[in-house]
Symmetry: C2
Subunit: 390 residues, 2 copies
């Protein structure tokens, strides 16, 4: 049995970013760049009007200009303006080289094909110069950059529809337990409704991981082993729930061992979630969580989520730490580190009823965990404690 | 032209949660409950063993127990234990009414069918009583609760696979502009690569809104009007980009007017994003954004995102506000409120190069906006400014 701190250190050490992969535009969102990206074009690609108005071959000697045509956004703009000539132009349109300024329509008076400018203007106004945002060959975004919405817009605006990124992992959620029946079906004696696979799937979705499947299996050694083997063939990460304690029907540990999964650790000095297993098989990661739902969810949030971050190139980012003053005294009888379901507001934190590892009601009402490290046995009312925001 | 504050007030006032809808389990994640949910069952549904061990008909007079059978998780557990009898039992299994305590296997010595308990025990140990977490008919989660992963687990564990929720809106992103070509294709003279629809799609995905389509259309009145009409038939929200200025080729405003979309506001005293349009048509919402990418993204983040939150039942939650000290002096020449692309760290904030509304490079490097309200014209180096975290 190892400490929470050692378990986290091992998960961080072993979790490594997936091999880079060329992703297409519709899959950019939320990914991290696996290499520096250089601009294939000047942006804007040409001198571009920043206004609706007129592009002029301007001279301070000239008072009135003859409009010889029009350039809308997207037009090729093939005009040779002589001194005293102008073209009607629109925002985003190409400004011909023979025009030396753009005046916005608000300061132009037009009569027929003649225009007069009603305010002083200068050469080069309202023109976005080619390459002003970025020049062809310049660094657009660095390796490791997060593809947020503006970054997706920026890179697609450079014409890039394929990028070398760290992909998101593919995941199998495998819930074991012969006592489990599907919600929405009748519940016979001795059975309970399956919740862990739905909860873990919701957790993955909530944090942007959508490439997963869900498998529910009975507690038999053969089906457990076969399901794990098949999932290891196609997925990067396996998240198992249940079947990892020491009871006669807990087949997950035996199956993992038989298949040859390397155990990195099994059992963490924590409550809930003591029988947490973390292992590797070739390039794949295996987390086996206890079947008690609150224990499974706590381990998901504290170990798997930061691991998914590191594997996806975001780094090992855990729940956000803070401190708050506890509303009651707390006596830690467990001689283990404990994660307590709690609700924090305005620097105070309230311990919720229902701390059992089987109870999700309190976790669904919680907005944080209180973390009490092993060795801290007495907390007095009002003492400052560490919290982890959910 | 209205102020930023008035525009935000109008968006908040007009945006109302969608009509409740029965959603199925795989769509719970991230939604908000439209009504109180009561538990249809006791949870746990029966007295449940919390340990792997033995269930006893215990009496303090008895030293040795005869094991008469076994109850695994999921079994019906039909045993009538007499005094001095025990059954092997596993975590999650039904504890028969005739057993009055469970002892964990770690403190049991077994020989054949006889067991001895090596430590003092008490009646009622290691049994999770039926209804301990929640009783049939009790309030499980209140109307308005957020369906986080633990809440999804909790409710599915109660057998609920259908819930009355506020659904997420269906959305059409419509990008207009004859100058736009798809990334990955050749760029001819006068054209630029389309970025707004990809950026807005990424923004929706990033914040968990996945029910959207993307339409790219040319700047013609007919195609603009037809596309908007069709989208209004099937979608809750339209997000248009481009075509909303006053140029001759800006058909969005004309089409919206012709269709009968009620204008709530058009033009906001802000930079970037002055020609922002917000309107209603029956129960639908229409946002028309300027075509300049940074202006479109700024309006998306500051207006559309909180509106989507309110429409989805989360409330009108904007970007998180904070303050920081600006690294340079700033002179606001615009006589409008300005959103500046910036990077903040350790209470300081750096104004980024490239503030033009056409420039996304700086926005993809920014982690916040500086917000300078209209009327504040001079900020000195080191002055505290309002920021909005991205």
């Amino acid at each position: 049995m190892i400490s929470v701190e050692e378990a986290l250190r091992l998960v961080e050490e072993y979790s490594q970013p997936l091999k880079a992969k060329v992703l297409s535009l519709q899959n950019f969102t939320g990914k991290f760049l696996a290499e520096d990206v250089f601009s294939p074009i000047n942006m804007p690609p040409f001198n571009q009007s920043a206004m609706d108005g007129y592009a002029l071959h301007y001279s301070d000697q000239i008072e009135s200009y003859t409009v010889i045509g029009e350039i809308a956004a997207g037009d090729t703009g093939q005009f040779e303006l002589k001194a005293g000539e102008a073209v009607r132009i629109f925002t985003g349109a190409l400004v011909p080289d023979s025009a030396n300024t753009v005046v916005k329509q608000e300061i132009v008076e037009r009569e027929g094909d003649q225009i007069k400018i009603t305010e002083p203007i200068a050469v080069g106004q309202n023109i976005r110069l080619a390459g002003e945002q970025i020049k062809q060959g310049e660094l657009a975004l660095e390796k490791g950059s997060h593809l947020s919405a503006p970054a997706v817009g920026f890179l697609s605006g450079l014409g890039l529809n394929q990028l070398n990124c760290i992909p998101h992992p593919s995941i199998s959620i495998i819930a074991t337990g012969s006592e489990l029946v599907k919600p929405g079906t009748p519940l016979s004696t001795g059975k309970i409704y399956e919740s862990n696979s739905y909860m873990l799937a919701a957790g993955l979705k909530q944090y942007g991981f959508t490439d997963f499947d869900v498998i529910q299996i009975e507690d038999t050694y053969e089906s457990t082993k076969k399901t794990i083997q098949q999932a290891l063939e196609t997925k990067d990460i396996l998240i198992l729930s249940g079947g990892i304690s020491v009871g006669d029907y807990d087949f997950v540990g035996k199956a993992l061992n038989e298949i040859g999964v390397e155990q990195i650790f099994y059992k963490v000095r924590q409550k809930p979630g003591k029988p947490l297993f973390f292992g590797r098989y070739k390039e794949k990661y295996i987390f086996a969580l206890p079947g008690n739902p609150a224990a499974a969810m706590t381990s998901f949030l504290t170990y798997i989520l930061p691991a998914l971050g590191k594997i996806s190139g975001a780094g090992f980012i855990g729940l956000r730490k803070d401190t708050a003053n506890l509303d009651v005294a707390f006596h830690n009888k467990a001689n283990r580190s404990v994660f307590l379901k709690a609700y924090s507001e305005n620097g105070k934190v309230k311990l919720l009823d229902g701390q059992s590892s089987a109870i999700l009601k309190s976790l669904s009402e919680a907005n944080c965990f209180i973390y009490v490290p092993a060795g801290v046995n007495e907390i007095l009312e009002g003492d400052e404690v560490d919290i982890l925001w959910l």
